[in-house]
């Protein structure tokens, strides 16, 4: 007997659906459930209500990690989109060697965050990198010790992160600029509107959906940011550059505190859901306009 093609079309989906339902949704439910238990080294079924969440927020390290999510995330997203926009506009002025510049701006996106973090760790390291070099040139008073300064180390992550992702923003925004009808530019010129005002008043508002796309892509990198922190600062000095993703992994495997890690993971999940809701809202608002 031959199986109907319609049935086969359903059957090929089965492995993916099973994998996703168990691996993704089952895992999420498991973690949320464990966050309400007293689990330590091993998961237990003893429920303690919201205790693990009080414990989590009572801990300075978590509060620093969670705040860093927004400090790092806000600056990373702002500078990535800002740099991407400036580069895209510059390349849109009919410059020569455009694909050469694009190749240089974009290549870091092909590298892992581990490679990115290590490279910048060496450049910003006071004894081997930039500081030693500038001092060697004769500027003895020059100092750039952000990497070992608990107040400033978080900004070194921003520098490395922007280096990694700004090129991608440039490409996406550039594609958006190219898709704008030449008629609009012509109309602007006829009315005597300067290029600057055309960008600010006409072109950039038209690219609103493109910016939402950029925002979503970068936000996903932010909530997942683990590799970059591990490679560059290891969360230090102290725990000044810790992030939730690292906090969770450390508590799962090194500190064997599954319950608290799960509470942290659930907070991260809620944060991601809020970001999804926000970007959906922004997207809807745009289509209604």
């Amino acid at each position: 007997m031959r199986i109907r093609p319609q049935t086969l079309a359903r059957l090929v989906l089965v492995p993916t659906i099973l994998l996703t339902v168990i691996g993704v949704y089952g895992s999420i439910l498991w973690t949320v459930n464990i966050s309400f238990t007293s689990s330590g080294f091993l998961p237990t079924g003893k429920y303690v209500g919201l205790d693990r969440y009080y414990e989590l927020w009572g801990q300075a390290r978590w509060r620093v990690a969670y705040t860093n999510l927004f400090v790092f995330g806000g600056l990373y997203i702002f500078f990535c989109i800002g740099a991407g926009l400036l580069l895209a506009i510059a390349l849109d002025q009919g410059v020569r060697g455009r694909s050469f510049f694009q190749t240089i701006f974009l290549y870091p996106i092909a590298l892992s965050f581990i490679v990115t973090g290590l490279a910048w760790r060496w450049i910003l390291n006071p004894t081997t990198g930039l500081e030693a070099y500038v001092r060697g040139l004769g500027y003895e008073g020059f100092s750039f010790g952000w990497l070992s300064d608990p107040d400033m180390a978080i900004f070194t992550l921003v520098i490395a992160g922007v280096w990694h992702s700004a090129g991608l923003m440039m490409v996406i925004i550039f594609a958006g600029l190219q898709s704008i009808d030449g008629e609009i530019w012509r109309a602007g010129r006829v009315d005597g509107i300067s290029r600057f005002h055309m960008y600010r008043g006409v072109v950039l508002p038209m690219l609103f959906p493109v910016f939402v796309t950029c925002l979503v892509l970068l936000a996903m990198n932010v909530v997942r940011s683990y590799d970059l922190v591990v490679a560059m600062t290891g969360g230090g000095p102290g725990y000044s550059t810790d992030v939730p993703a690292k906090y969770i992994v450390d508590h799962l495997f090194d500190r064997a505190n599954i319950g608290r890690a799960s509470a942290g993971a659930t907070m991260l999940l809620l944060t991601v859901m809020a970001i999804i809701a926000l970007s959906t809202y922004l997207g809807r608002k745009e289509t209604r306009r």
């Binding site: 339902v21 590298l111 490279a119």
Partner: protein, 285 residues
């Protein structure tokens, strides 16, 4: 007016040149340092040119550098990464293209919700799912095996890859499939003889996305691969992180570049397909 334009253009080129330097310098520094000898690294700044070019650091990084007590370099991990990447990418592409075809062309009632379920899952950070997955693999006796690391890569890669294929297949005319069915072709015949040959470019884009994603992963490799299949990113981080005494910057940077080379080669060789690959996730984000 003309002068003004010339000044503006000069400013634009200056801006682009400075930006290019910012993006290029880290790679240049790592390349230069990797060619230095051990003595030179100890003496000079990493910004100086090597005085005598040497390949010693590259050889050491590949085959002799010590990670903890084991001094075998990261060459073996290179092959682990190749194995994991090839397996995960081929399985993902096969499943994702079949999924995309089934979801786009067969008028399944649940295709919308299924796609939605896949994509929402793609936004969730791995940290929320790793521990239950570890338990699951441990129960099945698969913890820290090749099967485990490939499975998690497939699991987390499938949503976006399925979306890429589905978005392409939804644009194919329905008549194509209908005509093939009238001629008596079955599901897999249509897939193999019509759909795959028509979507070679999509396979290329999806492969680029998958290869760079799997190769550059660190977290999943750290937790699921175990010591026998440890990927290169993990061993690189261990190499740099666990060194005792004075760090051997030339060896570390050679190891870093070795780890970065495969995705960099993919980037340089694939050109606009690469851009389509890395932005594919954004299209319907």
């Amino acid at each position: 007016m003309k002068d003004q334009n010339a000044i503006a253009m000069a400013a634009i080129y200056a801006f682009l040149a400075i930006a290019a330097a910012f993006f290029a310098i880290p790679l240049i520094i790592m390349l230069l340092t990797s060619f230095k000898t051990a003595e030179e690294v100890r003496e000079g700044s990493i910004f100086f040119l090597p005085e005598s070019w040497s390949l010693a650091a590259w050889g050491k990084a590949w085959g002799e550098a010590c990670i903890g007590r084991v001094c075998e370099g990261i060459g073996g991990n290179f092959w682990n990464s190749v194995l994991i990447t090839v397996l995960a990418t081929s399985i993902s592409l096969l499943l994702a293209s079949l999924n995309g075809f089934a979801l786009a062309q067969w008028r399944l009632r649940m295709s919308g919700p299924i796609l939605g379920m896949l994509l929402i899952g793609a936004f969730i950070p791995y940290q929320i799912m790793i521990y239950p997955l570890v338990r699951l693999f441990a129960t099945g006796g698969m913890h820290q095996t090749l099967g485990a690391i490939v499975t998690v890569h497939v699991l987390f890669g499938l949503p976006i890859l399925t979306l890429i294929f589905r978005n392409f297949y939804i644009g194919l005319p329905e008549e194509l499939i209908k005509a093939a069915r009238v001629d008596g072709a079955g599901f897999f015949q249509i897939y193999g003889m019509i759909i795959v040959p028509m979507s070679v470019n999509v396979f290329l884009v999806a492969a680029i996305l998958s290869i760079t994603g799997v190769w550059n992963d660190y977290l999943l490799g750290l937790i699921f691969a175990g010591p026998n299949f440890q990927p290169m990113t993990v061993s690189l981080q261990n190499l740099v992180g666990t060194q005792m005494g004075l760090p051997e910057y030339n060896v570390n940077m050679a190891a870093t570049i070795l780890t970065a080379l495969p995705p960099l080669a993919v980037y340089l060789l694939s050109g606009k397909y690469f851009v389509r690959g890395v932005t594919a996730g954004a299209v319907k984000g």
